[in-house]
Amino acid sequence: MLIPHPLLGPRDAREFTVMGDAGMIDRPDPAAPDAADRFYEYVYLRDNPAGVHRELWFHEYGDRSWLVVTRNTLTHEIVAVELASDVSAKREKSR
């Protein structure tokens, strides 16, 4: 697979380490009243769809960026790639 890195262009997937569901970005607020339940979901319940999936990939043998890669798990088509820090920063603003 080739992953089109937003800063570096297409890179071989073997330069990356995958961590799965990009939902890991959305760490719950530990002060929330239902924090225990939300952390349980955050840590243990992951989507694993056959189809379009947002995933976290780490450019471990590259620039050490975490990326959010939107990938079709059936065809391996890569629909979108963003810097995870951008995705996370945007989410912070919208909160």
Binding site: L2, R27, A35, F39, Y40, Y44, L56, T75
Partner: protein, 977 residues
């Protein structure tokens, strides 16, 4: 010798080779198969299951029968297809799957047992008693079946991996591939042309009268000259593109020196990863047989193969040749052979309307109903209408039409589509993006169509890249479009082979069908049709057609199985690409590695690192003796140890303190510059992740250490937290593990030794107490960092200098500490010292332990949030009652074995009564016996109690006393002194 005139062999040179120990001769340009056929060798192997005599069947990589063992000793290569092996002087080949000899094979008795060995026999016959399957039946079947044997020796050859990038990859160097490469390369685009053969041309080399105005060979050689002059075109002969992977990546194997007598090439084979923006599948087509009774005798061959041997290799496989066909190709075979002066016995054409195209006997509307000849064909039985006759011949050329080589196009699950008009499966429309088929691979079988479609497809592919190409001048070529009659097998009671390599007959397919194996996927697995080294290249379509007929379905309704890579077998050794032994993965050496080697150190792998395990001295006969000495030296005077491999992460930024507060379970923000704190990291699920030290050099500058094993994962985790969780924090990370050489100086004399190296730095307890850190200079101006931390429990320091000074620092410490008896120590003594001091390490941080188990639950701050803090307090983990304890044998001579499980004294030993396990153990020279650390149920409340350690693997039980985890200096006076 049966050599004809002409052919593409160099008769001026002779190559000597051997087959089954007998000497033979061939010429450059020959394959092993053509040289054997030219030497009148017909019997070359035995079949997989019935051990039937078999001969060369094809002239290409689809060969099901002519599999041989090539070479000798460690270089022996089983299951090599004689049809693709390029002949060289000194080649040694041997037949396989026979004993004691090829002509007399004891296992041929299987052929008489055939009624018991039908499809799925092993599912039915060997059912009882059940225990016999694993011990008797399966090993016996495996011995009886099978093809070549491995040498069982390490592979002595070299392999390499490489990466190529191009605009257009052309797979196949036949007429369509050549015209595609020509059209594309003339634009200046980067083009790769790969072909599995050692000579470009494909079927052009095997046929006559393909081109009209120009000699075929002249056209090819002009083309090759032009190719030579184009720097943007890379022609790769002997290169098989074996698979299509994601995003335009193609796997290819180049056989660099397989064809050289001493494999004098730089490597034997190379694995290429080709990234192509566009690709053309010009892989041609494979001829399909027609099944009929006893159609597997040596001498029965594919018609196109007979033509190839006659035309390209001037090798005639027999003296009197008959043809069996359902299309015009069979007639072409007869004409070509007649032109070479070969006797044609008859052409049997299933089509009643067929007409002879030349001067030969034609049996129109006839079929071959049987054959004769034990070790090779001697006659065929022909039925036409009510007439039955016997025709003497030693070769039967069978033509059942051509199957486009769609394999690569359906590597991504796309199913080939049956095209009634050409009676063949064509590449799927939903094949891999960027891959388009041309020529015979797309069902365009005439030379003229192939040439045109190759060039046109190239134009289209380049156009999609914004490159304009022009149609090249192509020679006038034959345009025959022969569609085979839909005729796949001759009905009959006797066995008719469909898959030669796996001995699958029409009967087996019928049996599978009658046992309700109706899906093609079930048919394949039940009968093994299309498995093994040829993957049914000559068998699949015929098998499907027969199945369709049985089920009263059409071929498209029946469908096909999926084509997966590789297209032809790939050696595992080339997939490894030389990454074996020492080169299996990168090896990291510490800055003092060479120094340690000079001291005679014994090394151990720690992840990718090579670390000194211990330093044997003259007179020491056992590693324990060495390790005891090293550990004692640290406790009594001073020892030095390279700890560079521990992960070091530089953390800087105005929010560095806040960031680390969230990373570590314990409080970090309150740490004062110039001080170090122990740090515990949890995973978000609340389990212990890693530990280390956190040193604050200044307000916005920290240095974090990790364990050697987790250096990579901790760094990844910290980057995840920085980028994904808290991008708003002003903090930067960089791994500096390799940048700094770090050496531990431990023992009561460590301060004394260090004083001799520092440049006017006050090391007194008041100025530089336990858990202090500082930047300083040593050895007359070398910048360094000093940390007063201790893993051994002794007064100890870790001194870091730029990595390139690591070795010099080690030497300086040895020199300066000579009178103190300074002793280098390795990872073994390091482990002994830490177990004696009760420090948790990798065995305790195994990913399944909670902070409470490690006795660190109080460390998890409740005044702040940190990763894993909340989950560490959830039910399950908060109730956890196992605690880290020290363990000491009641009998000092007894062994403490890590991994042994702990039980209450006198209690039953079951899973239900299991109370914990031993994590780490060593011989402690300080205690004078073995000691251990382990997790024990309510361990903190059971000090002094005796428990039993059970090691059922070795039938051991040992009585242990539960003791505090600190075997040395429990008050910590030594490290603070």
């Amino acid at each position: 010798m049966t050599r004809l005139d002409g052919g593409l062999i160099d008769r001026s040179k002779t190559l000597d080779f051997s087959f089954d120990g007998k000497p033979f001769r061939g010429h450059p340009g020959d394959t092993l198969a053509s040289a054997l056929l030219a030497s009148d060798v017909r019997l070359v192997g035995r079949s997989f299951k019935y051990h039937r005599p078999r001969g060369v069947y094809s002239a290409g990589s689809e060969e099901p029968n002519a599999l041989v063992e090539l070479g000798a000793g460690a270089r022996k290569q089983p299951n090599s297809r004689a049809t693709t092996v390029e002949l060289f002087a000194g080649l040694e080949a041997a037949s396989q799957n026979r004993w004691p000899s090829l002509r007399f094979d004891a296992m041929a008795v299987n052929d008489l047992l055939a009624p018991f060995l039908t499809a799925g026999f092993y599912y039915k016959t060997f059912m009882w008693p059940a225990a016999f399957w694993e011990k008797l039946y399966e090993p016996a079947i495996r011995r009886a079946a099978g093809l070549g044997r491995l040498s069982m020796l390490p592979d002595p050859d070299r392999y390499e991996k490489g990466y190529l990038h191009c605009d257009l990859l052309v797979v196949g160097g036949g007429p369509s591939g050549l015209s595609a490469a020509l059209a594309a390369a003339r634009t200046g685009a980067k083009v790769i042309l790969a072909d599995e053969d050692f000579r470009l041309g494909g079927r052009l080399l095997a046929e006559t009268a393909c081109l009209r105005d120009v000699g075929t060979l002249d056209w090819i050689s002009n083309l090759e000259n032009e190719f030579e002059s184009l720097p943007n075109l890379r022609v790769m002969r002997r290169t098989t593109v074996f698979g299509v992977f994601d995003h335009g990546i193609y796997g290819a194997v180049e056989r660099v020196s397989d064809h050289m007598p001493a494999r004098e090439g730089p490597v034997r084979q190379a694995l290429w990863q080709i990234s192509a923006k566009q690709a053309i599948l010009a892989a041609g087509a494979t001829e399909r047989p027609i099944a009929f009774a006893d159609n597997d005798r040596p001498g029965i061959m594919l018609g196109g193969a007979v033509r190839a041997y006659a035309n390209r290799w001037a090798a005639c496989p027999g003296k009197r040749i008959a043809v069996f066909t359902n299309n015009d190709d069979g007639h072409r075979t007869a004409l070509d052979l007649i032109a070479k002066g070969v006797d044609i016995a008859a052409v049997v054409d299933v089509r009643p309307e067929a007409a002879a195209l030349g001067d030969y006997r034609l049996v129109a509307g006839g079929v071959v109903s049987g054959t004769r000849g034990r070790m090779g064909l001697s006659a065929i039985e022909v039925v036409s209408g009510s007439r039955k006759e016997r025709i003497e011949c030693d070769v039967l050329a069978v033509s059942g039409g051509w199957n486009p080589n769609v394999h690569l196009a359906s590597n991504h699950r796309g199913r080939p589509a049956w095209d009634e008009a050409v009676q063949a499966f064509l590449p799927p429309l939903d094949g891999p993006a960027g891959l388009t088929a041309a020529g015979a691979a797309s069902g365009r079988f005439s030379t003229s169509d192939a040439l045109l479609s190759g060039a046109r497809t190239a134009l289209g592919a380049l156009d999609s890249l914004g490159i304009r190409a022009a149609m090249p001048d192509l020679p006038d070529a034959e345009g025959r479009r022969s569609v085979p009659a839909p005729f796949f097998h001759v009905p009959g009671k006797r066995r008719a082979w469909v898959d030669f390599q796996n001995d699958v007959t029409v009967k087996d397919i019928k049996l599978a069908h009658s046992e309700n194996m109706r899906s093609v996927e079930h048919l394949k697995r039940y009968t093994t049709l299309g498995m093994a080294t040829d993957q049914g290249r000559t068998a699949n379509v015929t098998g499907l057609a027969i199945m369709a007929e049985l089920g009263g379905q059409s071929i498209p309704e029946t469908g096909t199985t999926i084509f997966r890579p590789p297209y032809t077998p790939v050696n595992l050794s080339v997939l490894g690409g030389g990454d074996t032994g020492e080169h299996f993965r990168p090896r990291r050496l510490t800055p003092t590695h060479r120094w340690a080697r000079e001291q005679g150190a014994v090394f151990i792998e720690a992840g990718q690192w090579m670390r000194a395990q211990y330093f044997p001295q003259p007179g020491e006969s056992h590693w324990r003796e060495t390790v005891d000495r090293e550990a004692r030296a640290v406790r009594r005077s001073v020892g030095i140890c390279d700890v560079t491999t521990l992960g070091k992460i530089d953390v800087q930024g105005s929010d560095a303190g806040e960031y680390l507060n969230r990373i570590y379970a314990n409080m970090i923000q309150t740490l004062k510059p110039g001080r170090v704190r122990y740090g515990l990291m949890l995973r978000e699920d609340g389990f212990a992740f890693d530990d280390g030290t956190c040193a604050r050099l200044s307000d916005d500058h920290f240095i974090v250490t990790t364990t050697t094993a987790n250096a990579g994962t901790v760094y990844r985790h910290m980057e995840f937290a920085r980028q994904c969780l808290w991008p708003e924090l002003d903090v930067q990370l960089i791994s500096t593990t390799d940048a700094w050489a770090q050496i531990t100086i431990a023992g009561p004399n460590s301060r004394e030794l260090l004083t001799r190296l520092v440049d006017g730095f006050d090391l007194s307890n008041e100025a530089f107490p336990f858990m202090a850190c500082s930047e300083l200079s040593v050895c007359g101006g070398l910048r360094a960092r000093l940390f007063r931390i201790s893993f051994s429990g002794e007064l100890a320091y870790e001194l870091a200098v730029p990595a390139r000074y690591g070795r010099a620092l080690m030497a300086r410490l040895m020199e300066a500490g000579q009178d103190l008896g300074v002793t280098p120590y390795g990872t073994e003594a390091l482990g002994v010292l830490r177990i004696e001091k009760g420090h948790a390490a990798g065995a305790e941080f195994n990913g399944q332990t909670s902070p409470a188990m490690l006795g660190m639950d109080k460390l998890v701050s409740v005044k702040k949030d940190s990763i894993g803090a909340l989950m560490s307090r959830r039910a399950g983990l908060a109730d956890e009652r196992r605690r880290l304890v020290g363990l000491q044998p009641v009998d000092p001579a007894a062994s403490v074995i890590p991994g042994a499980h702990l039980f209450g004294a006198g209690r039953e030993q079951t899973l239900a009564t299991d109370e914990g396990w031993i994590t780490s153990a060593c011989y402690s020279p300080h205690v004078g016996s073995m000691i251990g650390l382990g997790f024990l149920e309510n361990g903190d409340a059971r000090l002094g109690e005796a428990v039993v350690a059970a090691n059922p693997l070795e039938g051991q039980t040992v009585s242990l006393k539960v003791v505090p985890i600190h075997f040395v200096d429990p008050e910590g006076g030594r490290l603070r002194g």
